[in-house]
Subunit: 186 residues, 2 copies
Amino acid sequence: MRIYIGLVHYPVYNKNYQRIASAITTLDLHDLARLAMTYHVKRFYVITPFEEQQRLARRVQTHWTKGFGAEYNRHRKEALELVEVVPSLDRAIKAITETEGEPPLLIATDASKRKMRSVSFEGARGIIRKRQAAILIFGTAWGLDEEVIASADYVLDPISGSGGYNHLSVRTAAAIILDRLARTPQ
Amino acid sequence: MRIYIGLVHYPVYNKNYQRIASAITTLDLHDLARLAMTYHVKRFYVITPFEEQQRLARRVQTHWTKGFGAEYNRHRKEALELVEVVPSLDRAIKAITETEGEPPLLIATDASKRKMRSVSFEGARGIIRKRQAAILIFGTAWGLDEEVIASADYVLDPISGSGGYNHLSVRTAAAIILDRLARTPQ
């Protein structure tokens, strides 16, 4: 698999559907890095345009990969090494293009079913298993800005559990999505 | 489905495999309550013997079900209403037995594969879909105490993603487990 993930802090919506930049939640970095390790994700991009927020994310990473944390918990070290802090989604795509020699497919995740370019879990799993390079992006706060959604090659269907409730945290949604798309058949 | 979940703060292990009681992480209450809503879990037991910790958990719940949070976010309200704070696993089992008219099966989750009473995801899914009342329990910190594991009817196989790394947070592990066991076939 040649799969990448991105956690987008800008542009996302707030509760009133205004475009904002959300703050880094350090727990999300840990949880998504550990998921990335579990599912052989090649790189986990933490996307925020604010330098202070970038510094915060890098400080967390350095603590666990080079500082006290690296000795304390090597499993955390391995996971946090997958993190790369970048100012924009474009920069993440550029970095992947350099590594892979071709631009990755952009697969956006969203809590609503889309009419255009929507892809089922089965469809997305097929794409990923064909070894197509792809980046799966997750929005923080109230979700990815429409402009980002519009730029995606595919928009993954929302998670349905066993009813209509669809209000998971980004951490747990990312866990379910990666498990459905990237786990090895058993 | 007649499925319940429990988040165990005692007895669990610390990093050195000593028996401890872990502190409540308020984010876990939110994440697991929202998962419980998504997968039609009947009740989410937060298990801690410490009164101060019980008060903290109840304060979070009250804020979101009756206080400011209830107005602010009704999806959160619905989810947090599933929470019940209890001092021990036995008390959770007793409450379920009263509701269901029979004791629930106790299914423990663990990061290692067990020789005794282990159950695959497929096996556990079968049990749950037969409408057998069951409680799935998740350990905080470094995992459930052996005594709790020994008292379980089944121990669920560990999550394998696509490799040997098996160090997820309890939030993301619970998400993956509920999705595998309790989602409606699509």
